[in-house]
């Protein structure tokens, strides 16, 4: 741990800390909407890091990851809203949500252990769709999920009497709801990042890498591939479940619409575009891909007005058009992602003909 004592990295850490504390106040200058956008970016970091365990570490292509997010979100929504009249505290539900998501992860993982590559991709995709369809339709004959209308009036996070919604004064500083959530999210994000960093270089992390590189060889050196693959699914899923619970509390509203396949694809894009298996890269990918559409949302309309004096193209489609092009261009020129791990970079440099 000696590198933490190095004055240069200590200075860097202080700088990052100051930036992280200042960020919600800077963002608030553009309106509370921007603070919310930053919050969602952090939530996407959770999700991308969770998916990174499955895809990046263990090499299992999962296209239904959003299902676990949905499970976590609905668990919180059902246990802390007037829908069933249950109002459990946030901290009690979060582990429950993570546990249920974890069970779903194993449920998805166990029948798919034999599958490889694209077969696994389509099964996970199907699994995600199945979960979404059930959420959309489980309002009859017994109303569990309230169908497409979703669940509203979900309780916000609270610690004792301190509620995370609404504005409060702390030490003379006025903090809005999104700003309070921001600090909660940052604290959790740091925890999640530390867990991921420790996990990557642990015995388990190295075993996952071995499975990713060559499953048969991994088996041959005595790695229990079945259990470790299940563990990857379970851990990835519980991160998704936790993120879902926070989403639910922050948003106060969940509906199946938030958990469509395109969301799974977006999270996968964050992982791959950032640099699969490399934690800083994945964080970068999550931040970029969650902020870019929002910047474009506010940018393309005025830009067209300035350039042509009128709206030539519907800004909503133009924004997604640019987003899609950005995905293509980045992958075209940085095939290993924007910030790949050094090992991966070396591998790609060494054998251009092989492909991973």
């Amino acid at each position: 741990m000696s590198k933490w004592l190095n004055p240069r990295s200590a200075f860097g850490i202080v700088l990052i800390a100051v930036a992280l504390i200042a960020l919600p106040f800077v963002a608030a200058m553009g309106g509370q909407a921007w603070v919310r956008i930053v919050n969602f970016a952090i939530l996407y970091i959770f999700l991308a890091l969770g998916l990174n365990i499955v895809v990046g570490f263990a090499g299992l292509l999962d296209l239904g990851y959003i299902a676990f997010y949905a499970v976590g979100a609905y668990t919180y929504a059902l246990l802390a809203s007037p829908h069933f009249g249950v109002h459990w505290p946030f901290w009690a539900i979060l582990p429950i949500g993570a546990a249920i998501a974890c069970v779903f992860g194993v449920l998805l993982g166990s029948p798919t252990l034999k599958l490889r590559g694209d077969y696994l991709a389509i099964v996970t995709l199907g699994f995600g769709e199945i979960v979404r369809i059930f959420m959309n339709n489980l309002n009859a004959p017994i109303n569990i999920t309230n169908g497409p209308q979703g669940i509203t009036l979900i309780d916000p996070v609270a610690i004792g009497d301190f509620r995370f919604s609404g504005t409060t004064q702390i030490l003379g500083i006025s903090l809005s709801g999104p700003q309070k959530y921001y600090f909660l999210l940052v604290a959790l994000a740091i925890l999640v990042i530390i867990i991921n960093l420790r996990l990557q270089n642990s015995r388990i992390g190295r075993a996952w890498q071995a499975i990713r590189e060559d499953e048969i060889a991994a088996k041959a050196v005595g790695i229990n591939t079945r259990n470790l693959k299940l563990l990857a699914f379970a851990m990835g899923a519980s991160f998704g479940g936790i993120a879902g619970g926070i989403f639910s509390a922050m948003q106060g509203f969940v509906s199946p619409e938030s958990f469509s396949l395109i969301e799974s694809i977006m999270i996968l894009a964050m992982v791959v575009l950032g640099g699969m298996g490399h934690i800083p890269g994945v964080i970068l990918g999550a931040v970029l891909l969650s902020i870019l559409p929002e910047v474009l949302r506010y940018g393309v309309g005025p830009l067209q007005m300035a350039l042509f004096g009128k709206m030539l193209i519907d800004p909503e489609s133009l924004r997604m058009l640019i987003f899609g092009l950005a995905l293509v261009l980045v992958m075209r020129f940085k095939p290993a992602g924007l910030w790949p791990s050094p090992e991966r970079k070396r591998e790609l440099g060494e054998k251009p003909a092989g492909g991973a």
Binding site: T112, G117, Y119, G126, I130, M320, L325, A336, R344, G355
Partner: protein, 307 residues
């Protein structure tokens, strides 16, 4: 019994469409080993081009059959160009990249195509011109239309043509050789770039044909229609064993029939607990169950690749 027969007929029609689209996925996969995620969007563009071309020609006063044919040819040409372009832009530069990279570019292209379609054709549902007369047939208590007969016959003929192409022509032989081993194939004088382009172009042409069929069948089209259709067709391709032509055809028809029967009987089977809006679940449940027992699909070969 007549419900059963009716659902089989409906499933067969839907399944033929799935099969045609699935062939596009499976041809590309068989040769290059990658999922062309933008294929559903190619199908969508095919439908919308037909609407514009055939619709305009009918308005000008051209006979319906001729206008329909012109629309179909336009759709096929546009989609072939699109397939060729897709390969050049999104896949060829990434041939040696990590496996997931082309998946993301494909998703990017799919987003681009969807939004281009939205800019060109708008957000609203478009009605597909009536290209075939409305004739109803009755058979053993089940009824079906001329459109349904046309869909099954045309897709059957097209698939036969494709089988001929792949197994009886020089291009087909080159394709099979490239699928087995691109390096060795190019040593034998096969231009593998051309073969890969050909696979994309042919797959897209089949997609355009499927798009026209979807349009005539449902008489409605939308810029987002390619997504679910592509997903189902891809499921069908995997069900049959991706990379295998016959597998894609059988998988497509099977999926169509399973879905139709599922939608027809799910209420009875679950005592009314689950309604027909669970129809979409069937495709995926069947897929998961099949893959549990046959990890590379019904007719697929054992593969050693991974994500």
């Amino acid at each position: 019994m007549d419900i059963f027969l009716q659902q089989i007929i409906n499933g067969l029609v839907q399944g033929s469409i799935y099969a045609l689209v699935a062939l596009g996925y499976t041809m590309v996969y068989g040769i290059m080993g990658l999922i062309n995620f933008a294929h559903g969007e190619v199908v969508m563009i095919g439908t919308l081009v037909t609407i514009t071309v055939a619709g305009t020609l009918i308005k000008v006063g051209m006979p319906v059959a001729l206008a329909g044919l012109a629309g179909l040819s336009a759709a096929v040409l546009v989609c072939m160009a699109l397939g060729w372009g897709l390969e050049r832009i999104a896949y060829r530069p990434l041939r040696n990249a990590p496996r997931l990279t082309p998946l993301i570019t494909a998703i990017g292209m799919s987003i681009v195509l969807q939004n281009v379609a939205m800019i060109v054709w708008g957000r609203n549902y478009l009605t597909f011109p009536h290209l075939l007369p409305k004739i109803n047939f009755e058979f053993a208590g089940a009824s079906f239309t001329a459109v349904q007969v046309m869909i099954v016959v045309v897709s059957g003929l097209t698939m036969a043509g494709l089988i001929f192409l792949v197994y009886r022509t020089k291009l087909g032989m080159a394709m099979r050789a490239t699928a087995q081993n691109p390096q060795v194939a190019s040593l034998m004088g096969v231009n593998s770039n051309r073969v890969i382009s050909a696979a994309f172009v042919i797959g897209s042409a089949l997609g355009a044909l499927a798009g026209v069929m979807v349009g005539t069948y449902y008489e409605i089209a939308h810029y987002q229609m390619g997504f679910m259709l592509g997903l189902k067709a891809f499921t069908a391709a995997v069900l049959g064993g991706i990379g295998n032509l016959a597998g894609a055809m059988i998988g497509g028809v099977l999926l169509g029939i399973i879905e139709a029967l599922g939608a027809g009987y799910i209420g009875d089977l679950t005592g009314g607990f689950l309604g027909s809006h669970y129809q979409d679940i069937f495709a995926f449940v069947v897929l998961i169950v099949v893959l549990m027992f046959k990890p590379s699909g019904l007719f697929g070969e054992k593969t050693g690749d991974r994500a």
